[in-house]
């Protein structure tokens, strides 16, 4: 079972067991990690499941598709390493992935 690390804006770290095929958003929410509002439930329509990929992982995470990238332009504080976590699907290749959460989703 892949393990993800999510770091809240205040520095609190959460290690989360994720199922393959699940989205990172769902894995985090199911582990009760606060900070991903995910208003649209994973439909890539709200941009409130925003997180930053740790630099060491950037090259290993599949690139965002166009819809996600366009939505991200309006995520709070978008950066080069921004992603919408509902569009990141957990696989063995993401075992160990580290993400940082923004201060706010709005």
């Amino acid at each position: 079972m892949p393990v993800l690390t999510l770091i809240e804006f205040n520095g609190t770290e959460h290690r989360v067991n994720a199922d393959i095929g699940q989205s990172v958003m769902q894995a985090a929410n199911f582990a009760n990690v606060p900070g991903l509002q995910a208003d649209c439930g994973g439909a890539c329509s709200c941009a409130t499941c925003h997180a930053f990929i740790d630099d060491a992982w950037l090259a290993r995470v599949p690139a965002a598709e166009e819809t996600e990238s366009d939505m991200l332009d309006y995520a709070c504080g978008r950066a080069e390493n921004s992603r919408l976590t509902c569009q990141l699907i957990v696989s063995d290749a993401l075992d160990g992935l580290v993400l940082r959460l923004p201060e706010s989703q709005y």
Binding site: S23, N29, G41, A43, S45, M71, D73, Y74
Partner: protein, 411 residues
């Protein structure tokens, strides 16, 4: 006001969100969430889309796992609320139990308007509202050859796209003259009509359903209003919903196209709030006219507004309505309400199904419908929520782009 106990009736999108937001806001009193559907609270949008296609697991429908409700101390009760005793501030349940409340939140949603034609009760005739509906329907749509969809609204068309993708012959009957007529512009309807036809969906506009025929108790055909017989092994209808107002109405609350609430989402009883699909509220983005909206955004934002008020931070509900629907390869996102628009400007290209329709009323931008242009949608949400407003003349200028205008006109 002491709020030792908050009782929420209806454990759908709105009810769940009220409970979760109350805890997030730091409420420490009792929270009871009463739902009459089995299982944990879940989201409905995938029921007519990815879930029906088999693309996502049922756990992906859940908002949160069981231990969330335990750790957050949200008492989830599977029962039906049958009456509200406003004098003694109690909710009565079908099991006979009575729950006392300091504040009551009604989030009872809506049920599908039933088909009123002979044969509507037959096996193989479905509306899509609950997970149970989707679970029963999924194997049938995977096996179906001839599917008739009654009503070309959002849910009917989402289902039509799924059925067509799974290889069925899909026939849509619609009383109006275009798809999604009540919710989107003529221009956008046209894009979706063409797209569905490209996927093999056949439309019959200005056409009703007269009856459903059966063979051995199972649906085998439908008869249209003009007397034609269409083969059908599955009939799915989406002809609107009826707000679940019964307990509110019997308790004497003001009812008017749903449970009538004020700008703070309070009912005619100040100890009772209502929200989501069941609530009719004065809408800032609808010229302050009362409206009942059926959307995830509406349920979620109203829930946050109520939770904040109950935690001592009252504010009028003013959130901008937004909505999405996914049909085949098309994602339609709507910001604002286009009711009564009198002019429009198209940005992008209808030919490639990548476009936004900007809807104006009295030269005021009131809504933006974006198909496969998510950046436009997000820009529109910003623009519609603040001044200054874009004019039709500005939008019609050559080379106009919503995103660029939004960035250039940030306050």
């Amino acid at each position: 006001m002491s709020l030792a106990s908050i009782v929420i009736v209806g454990a759908g999108q709105a009810g769940y969100q009220v409970a979760a937001s109350l805890r997030q806001e730091g409420h420490t009193g009792r929270i009871v969430l009463i739902g009459d559907e089995p299982g944990l609270p879940y989201q409905r949008p995938p029921l007519s889309k990815a879930y029906l296609l088999g693309k996502i697991a049922d756990t992906a429908l859940l908002f949160r796992p069981a231990d969330f409700f335990a750790t957050q101390n949200i008492e989830l009760i599977h029962d039906q609320a049958t009456a509200i005793d406003r004098i003694n501030r109690r909710v009565l349940l079908a099991s006979g139990e009575a729950l006392s409340y300091d504040h009551l939140v009604l989030a009872t949603g809506a049920h599908n308007r039933p088909l009123a034609v002979p044969g509507a009760q037959l096996e193989g005739v479905f509306g899509i509202k609950t997970k149970l509906h989707a679970d029963t329907l999924a194997p049938l749509v995977h096996a179906a050859r001839d599917v008739v969809v009654v009503g070309a609204g959002f849910i009917g068309l989402e289902f039509a796209a799924v059925a067509a993708a799974l290889g069925a012959n899909v026939h849509v009957l619609e009383l109006g003259d275009r798809p999604m007529a009540r919710a989107v512009s003529r221009e956008m309807s046209e894009v979706f009509r063409k797209a569905h036809e490209g996927w093999g969906v056949h439309f019959d506009f200005r056409q009703g359903l007269a009856s459903i025929e059966s063979d051995n108790g199972k649906v085998c055909a439908v008869i249209t209003s003009d007397g034609r017989r269409l083969p059908a092994d599955l009939v799915v209808f989406g002809i609107g919903v009826i707000a679940n107002v019964q307990i509110a109405s019997e308790a004497g609350l003001h009812i008017e196209n749903g449970i009538k609430v004020d700008a703070h989402l309070l009912t005619s009883d100040p100890q009772i709030s209502a929200l989501g699909d069941v609530a009719c509220f004065p809408c800032l983005h609808n010229d302050q006219q009362p409206i009942r909206l059926e959307s995830v955004q509406n349920a979620v934002d109203q829930a946050r507004c109520i939770a904040a008020r109950l935690m001592g931070k009252p504010a009028a509900y003013e959130a901008l309505p937004w909505f999405w629907t996914d049909q085949g390869a098309l994602k339609l996102q709507i910001a604002g309400l286009s009711t009564g628009y009198d002019s429009s400007v198209i940005v992008g290209s209808p030919e490639t199904s990548q476009l936004s329709v900007l809807c104006f009323r009295n030269d005021q931008l009131i809504a933006v419908e974006s198909c496969n242009r998510p950046g436009d949608h997000m820009a529109a949400r910003k623009i519609l929520a603040r001044a200054p407003q874009l004019t039709a003349a500005q939008a019609a200028a050559p080379g106009f782009e919503l995103k660029a205008w939004e960035v250039a006109n940030r306050p």
